[in-house]
């Protein structure tokens, strides 16, 4: 078998994944910390103040990466949920459910920083602009997935139902993304784009991209850490957990 495919199959096994994630976690956290520190240095000291918004535009460096992560985490959750539902891979269900609270946290931070940013620039904490509203809807979708996951007793059935809900909710993601084009009111239009030149100065752009990288790495580290704990709980009766954590047995006796 192709070594990459073999590795991928191995990764689906909970004990292998547990060890794999444990090996990678410190590196990912360290990378996120370093990239985050470099990004924040660039954002708070190196980047010049905006000619219109002054220093308040620096909230963007938290707001925008978190907004991207809120969407990315939802995509990651839905993709893993899809894999879990179709191929019945336990690990994918675990990963999907582990990414839900992280994504919800990022979305919440996006809303909070957005309203902090809105006060000095728009003069109001909150406005019923389409993009803000869609972000709020995204947060509620996360809450629905988390709520459904915790409302069902059987863990695997709960994960499958919540993953299915995430797939249904993915209809909302294009609406979130394109709403800025459809109902453009107060929120500024997109300034960073993958294709074509961005409408933002390079000295302002690189901290943003560094921070976006840092949040992605942090997201994966956090999801791996959460999945490790979830796997231990899910597989608590299995041999590999018993050999790994002999202390828990004495606790139960």
């Amino acid at each position: 078998m192709n070594p990459l495919v073999l590795w991928f199959h191995k990764l689906g096994s909970p004990p292998y994944f547990y060890r794999f994630a444990g090996r990678w976690l410190p590196w990912l956290y360290a990378l996120a910390l370093i990239a985050g520190a470099a990004g924040f240095y660039g954002a708070l000291f190196a980047a010049p103040a905006d000619y219109q918004q002054g220093d308040s535009f620096r909230i963007m460096y938290v707001h925008v990466p978190c907004a991207w992560m809120g969407l990315f985490a939802y995509l990651f959750m839905a993709a893993n949920g899809f894999v879990g539902l179709v191929w019945r891979i336990k690990l994918s269900e675990t990963l999907a459910m582990a990414s839900a609270p992280v994504g919800a946290a990022f979305t919440f931070i996006t809303l909070v920083t957005g309203s902090l940013w809105g006060k000095p620039t728009w003069g109001t904490w909150w406005t019923w602009d389409a993009r803000l509203t869609s972000e709020l809807v995204l947060l509620f979708l996360y809450f629905g997935v988390i709520g459904l996951y915790h409302a069902i007793e059987d863990r695997r059935q709960a994960a499958r139902a919540a993953a299915f809900l995430a797939l249904v909710g993915i209809v909302n993601l294009p609406i979130v993304h394109y709403s800025v084009i459809w109902w453009n009111t107060l929120h500024q239009a997109q300034t960073v784009s993958l294709v074509g030149p961005s409408k933002i100065a390079p000295s302002m752009l690189w901290p943003l991209l560094t921070l976006a990288f840092a949040t992605h790495v942090y997201f994966f580290a956090s999801v791996l850490a959460r999945s490790r704990v979830a796997l231990l709980e899910l597989e608590s009766g299995k041999d590999w957990v018993r050999t790994l954590l002999p202390a828990t047995e004495t606790l139960h006796d």
């Binding site: 509203t133 509620f140 629905g144 459904l148 409302a151 059935q157 909710g169």
Partner: protein, 227 residues
């Protein structure tokens, strides 16, 4: 029509559900009553000025109708689950999505249709301008099936839970927000004398998509929660 064929099964299911609703026809009036009460509360809260009321009329009616439908949604599969006929539906040789489509149609006929019938009365209570009423009715006719369809998927996921009411609201409302935006948006556009066909067409397009996909999704969800 041959007994045992899929169409015969669908008709039998529709007839049974209609009969069940007819035997307890008092309950079927509850959503209507709820919507009237909610709408009647707004003038008490906002004052009887006709200008204010007619400006918020369409949106208020939309919200009241959606809430009233939501109230009846968690009963969609409950009695079937309790007497075991839901499992028989899942086990039957006929396509589950089609059978669930029949149940969703029944839900729409027994809760949304009365609400649409009572909508002109609600519009009068809130002094909606007469020229907006046809737009409101069209928007409701397009948006309520969407709620039945999307709601059925969420109900299928929460079926068998003890207290699913609040959770169901949390699941359904974010998914149904675009229906509210487009539906109420069309009414507001008509009220202000703008073109209103675009949001209605969006609603219709989404409805076409939901009619095809939602029964399939509901069937898949039901299989997840009944295992």
């Amino acid at each position: 029509m041959k007994p045992g064929s899929t169409s015969a099964a669908c008709i039998a299911l529709l007839r049974r559900d209609l009969l069940l609703v007819w035997r307890r026809r008092g309950d079927a009036l509850n959503p209507m009553l709820f919507a009237i009460i909610v709408v009647a509360l707004f003038p008490f809260a906002l004052g009887p000025e006709s200008a204010v009321l007619s400006r918020i009329a369409a949106g208020t009616i939309f919200v009241a109708v959606l809430l009233a439908m939501l109230l009846s949604l968690d009963a969609l599969f409950r009695s079937d689950l309790e007497d075991g006929s839901l499992e028989q539906l899942v086990l039957s040789p006929h396509p589950l999505a089609l059978l669930l489509g029949c149940k969703i149609l029944m839900h729409w006929l027994t809760t949304a249709l009365p609400l649409i019938v009572v909508a002109p009365l609600l519009a009068q209570l809130l002094l909606l301008p007469a020229k907006v009423l046809p737009v409101l009715l069209t928007a409701l006719a397009l948006a309520t099936p969407l709620l039945s369809l999307i709601g059925a998927v969420c109900v299928a996921l929460t079926v068998g839970m003890r207290r699913s009411g609040m959770l169901l609201t949390l699941l359904v409302l974010p998914l149904i927000v675009p229906a509210l935006i487009f539906g109420a948006g069309a009414c507001n556009a008509a009220q202000n004398g703008f073109a209103y066909s675009a949001p209605l067409l969006w609603l219709a397009a989404w409805l076409v998509l939901a009619v095809i996909l939602a029964p399939l999704a509901a069937a898949a969800a039901l299989k997840i929660s009944l295992t």
